[in-house]
């Protein structure tokens, strides 16, 4: 145990202060979610705010049954399929782009800013632009092509930055060694590069999946006749708000958290293996 000097005590106090601040921050960020979670078990006669009038599963049952909110199960399925497609495309594109950016090429600056623009341009603008363009051409929008396209524009910069960071720390000599021993480009990629960058690809995919699964602004005008889950949630919110929406919100949040933990577990396993 170190001697307790005034200097040390001061430092401990500062650190304690910051820890308290961190805890308050967490309450601020997570608090509303816990309130929502609690209220989803609101009694049948209770409303969307406290106090709780008894405890029940009424709102959860209503969520499971056929409801006024819309066909939640199929919109959930659509959201999941869309998220998986976005995940795969994001992972592939960001890997390819980051590999290209390991070299110098003409127009690399323009391409870099174009990828980053996906982060900067508000979703409502892309939705508006693509939706009115499709209208002029005479194609009706659909979640699995027009919404997919704009989702990838949004998730690509995240995946790209992750892969850039991965290749920044990548030891290119490993690939050179394989090449010197006569491996062709595909073999080098498959046997050397890919196993080393898989954790990064998983992380890029995580951004693709979760950001697409929750995306609302970029889907709103582009999903066509069939809704994705965020669109259904929004529709339920603009009607009279009932605790059903809290049940739905809780379920969706828990699902998101599960997906994040799953990705983190996969990432950790792959990361350990790639060492």
């Amino acid at each position: 145990m170190a001697r307790s000097t005034p200097e040390r005590r001061r430092k401990t106090r500062i650190k304690a202060g910051f820890s308290v601040y961190y805890a308050i921050f967490l309450i601020f960020v997570y608090g509303p979610m816990f309130a929502m979670f609690t209220l989803s078990f609101q009694g049948p006669r209770g409303g969307v705010t406290f106090p709780m009038r008894g405890l029940s599963f009424v709102w959860w049952e209503r969520l499971a049954g056929p409801s006024a909110v819309g066909d939640i199960k199929s919109s959930l399925v659509r959201s999941l399929i869309l998220a998986v497609m976005v995940m795969v495309i994001t992972a592939i594109f960001s890997t390819m782009l980051a590999m290209a950016f390991r070299k110098k090429f003409h127009g690399s600056n323009v391409l870099f800013y174009a990828v980053m623009a996906g982060l900067m341009v508000p979703g409502v603008l892309l939705s508006l632009g693509l939706a009115s363009l499709l209208r002029v051409i005479g194609i009706s929008p659909g979640w699995w092509y027009s919404a997919l396209g704009v989702h990838v524009v949004w998730t690509l910069p995240f995946g790209f930055l992750v892969m850039m960071a991965v290749f920044n720390r990548f030891d290119g000599r490993l690939e050179e060694a394989a090449r010197d021993m006569g491996a062709d480009e595909w073999t080098v990629f498959k046997e050397v590069t890919l196993p080393l960058i898989t954790p990064g690809i998983v992380a890029a995919g995580l951004f693709g999946f979760t950001l697409s699964y929750d995306e609302f602004a970029r889907t709103t005008l582009l999903a066509g006749a069939q809704n994705t889950l965020p669109l259904d949630i929004n529709a339920a919110m603009t009607q009279r708000v009932q605790p059903t929406i809290f049940a739905l919100g809780t379920a969706s949040t828990i699902f998101s958290l599960l997906m994040i933990s799953l990705f983190i577990v996969i990432y950790t396993i792959l990361y350990r293996r790639s060492r």
Partner: protein, 334 residues
């Protein structure tokens, strides 16, 4: 330089082979041309960038270009038709009675300019609060938490909400803010107020607070990374030379964290400027943001006017980002 000249050059400086079998030729005085003709290892760049580039052209560039083009088209009853008219821009800037000194609207900005201004004001407020909240947090995580594992875990814990639905996080504010909401109950409990106040829900206060809660994590990330990158020996050197903790912060830590602050603020800025769903949920749609205006005009099939609003929003955002970049040079960060 032609190919012939290249070969001539190579003839003057022949490559020297190192070893007998398979030695890589050592090119003496390798210049730009020889480098250009030597095949680079790895997959060819055009193949690597082609799919993503094509995708960005179709789903990013084309929509933006079409917004620009459509803003000049004319509206028909149920949509729009090609034309070149500036009437929508006029309608954006000049409301009826703008030039008539006898009307109350004389020389007052149009409702659309005022909406954009409101959006901007909310954004600036949210940015300032995000910065005030995020900086100490990032500082704590990067400077005070020593163990790397703890650092990562606590950082992830504060970032997780970013990966959950922001619609749901917006709606989760309802039980907190209402007349019987948790905040009112809490304030009554501690005796700060006697009657529940309805000031929290559907007010500027609640809207700003929800915006901050939704987007503050976007500011934490970049600031954390720029703080974590600071070379600790610099701080130690300053300490050895007798600098007080406050001096160290002002002279070293803060300047070095500026790029992170800039990136975080740009994130919050562009997200909140384009925001429209939160306004409806926690603000009850009492005031609209430019985002909601765009959607409303899309719904009534006035696409050109929606496009004009979109362009103005875009312009305001560009100006904002340029101003931030003027203040802080983030190029070394990228």
């Amino acid at each position: 330089m032609t190919t012939v000249e290249t070969y001539a050059k190579l003839a003057i400086h022949p490559p020297i082979s190192r070893g007998l079998i398979g030695g890589a030729p050592v090119v003496r005085g390798e210049d730009e041309v020889t480098r250009k003709y030597r095949r680079e290892p790895g997959f060819p760049v055009p193949i690597l960038i082609a799919p993503a580039t094509l995708w960005l052209v179709v789903f990013l560039v084309l929509p933006l270009v079409s917004i620009f083009v459509f803003s000049f088209w004319k509206t028909t009853g149920h949509g729009m038709a090609p034309a070149f008219t500036l009437e929508h821009y006029r309608a954006f800037f000049i409301s009826e009675g703008f030039f008539d000194p006898n009307r109350p609207e004389f020389l007052t900005p149009s409702i659309f300019i005022r909406t954009l201004w409101t959006t901007f004001r909310f954004t600036i407020t949210a940015m300032a609060i995000c910065l005030i909240l995020a900086y100490p947090l990032a500082y704590f995580l990067s400077m005070q938490v020593q163990d790397f594992k703890w650092q990562l875990a606590l950082f992830l814990l504060s970032m997780v909400p970013f990966w959950t639905s922001y619609l749901i996080r917006a709606v989760a504010w309802l039980p907190m803010l209402g007349r019987h909401g948790l905040i009112n109950e809490f304030l009554i409990d501690i005796g700060a107020i006697e009657e529940p106040v309805s000031f929290f829900l559907y007010s500027e206060f609640s809207y700003t607070m929800a915006l901050v809660q939704l987007y503050v994590v976007l500011a934490v990330g970049p600031i954390f990374f720029s703080l974590a990158k600071i070379d600790r020996t610099l701080l130690e050197a300053a300490r050895d030379m007798g600098a007080t903790p406050f001096q160290i912060f002002r002279e070293i830590i803060f300047p070095l964290s500026l790029p992170g602050i800039a990136i975080g603020m740009i994130f919050v800025f562009v997200m909140v400027m384009g925001e429209f769903a939160t306004a409806v949920v926690v603000y009850g749609g009492k005031t609209s943001t430019t985002g909601t205006v765009i959607l409303n005009y899309y719904v009534i099939a006035n696409y050109p006017f929606a496009a004009v609003n979109a362009i103005m929003l875009m312009l305001a955002m560009m100006i904002g980002v340029v101003v931030i970049l003027r203040v802080v040079d983030i190029r070394k960060e990228l």
